[in-house]
Amino acid sequence: EAEVAQSPRYKITEKSQAVAFWCDPISGHATLYWYRQILGQGPELLVQFQDESVVDDSQLPKDRFSAERLKGVDSTLKIQPAELGDSAMYLCASSPGLGADLGYTFGSGTRLTVV
């Protein structure tokens, strides 16, 4: 069964440092999402790509977060500088296209701890 790959699985970083997460969606999936899941809460959308273009980044804290999907395949999410409140699970998901009714496939996430 096809999977969404994410790395690293765990990351511990000091506040004010830079950190990056990588996601490889299911082959052929044009739509890619980055979600943040704070412990005990539901996932919240940070950014959505259609191919290499950003569709929605309205909830992305752009002063410290950036995301790219240069060739429309894999994607990188960066935080610089990291803050204590950024500690969370960062989930990547992909979908065959736009339209939430196509269903998302989530990766296993990156657990970030900022100390």
């Binding site: 809460q41 539901g42 996932p43 919240e44 959505q48 929605d56 009714d101 996430g109």
Partner: protein, 112 residues
């Protein structure tokens, strides 16, 4: 208006019992309502979904009941098993918009 409210936060059910999780929404533009199941250390996985043109959808032991007038929907897990112990998220989206809004989640524990 964009929120999806989910209850209870946690639920303990005996093996063989029925687990019921409820969700409510405000935005009448929502027209797709999925449920996701998440095990510890894993990402959420799509479990079952419903559109508002039907009042109920069943897949195996999992049933979604939908009340359009009340803007509420619920997940029923029949014959609950210890392997069903996980966190369940309801969600809502509109076909025209592309964002899925998730509830806060319900941690289900099924006692053997």
């Amino acid at each position: 208006q964009q929120q999806v409210k989910q209850s209870p936060q946690s639920l303990i059910v005996q093996k063989g019992g029925i687990s019921i999780i409820n969700c409510a929404y405000e935005n009448t533009a929502f027209d797709y309502f999925p449920w996701y199941q998440q095990f510890p250390g894993k990402g959420p996985a799509l479990l079952i979904a419903i559109r508002p043109d039907v009042s109920e959808k069943k897949e195996g032991r999992f049933t979604i009941s939908f009340n359009k007038s009340a803007k509420q929907f619920s997940l029923h897990i029949m014959d609950s098993q210890p392997g069903d112990s996980a966190t369940y998220f309801c969600a809502a989206s509109s076909t025209g918009g592309f964002k899925t809004i998730f509830g806060a989640g319900t941690r289900l524990f099924v006692k053997a």
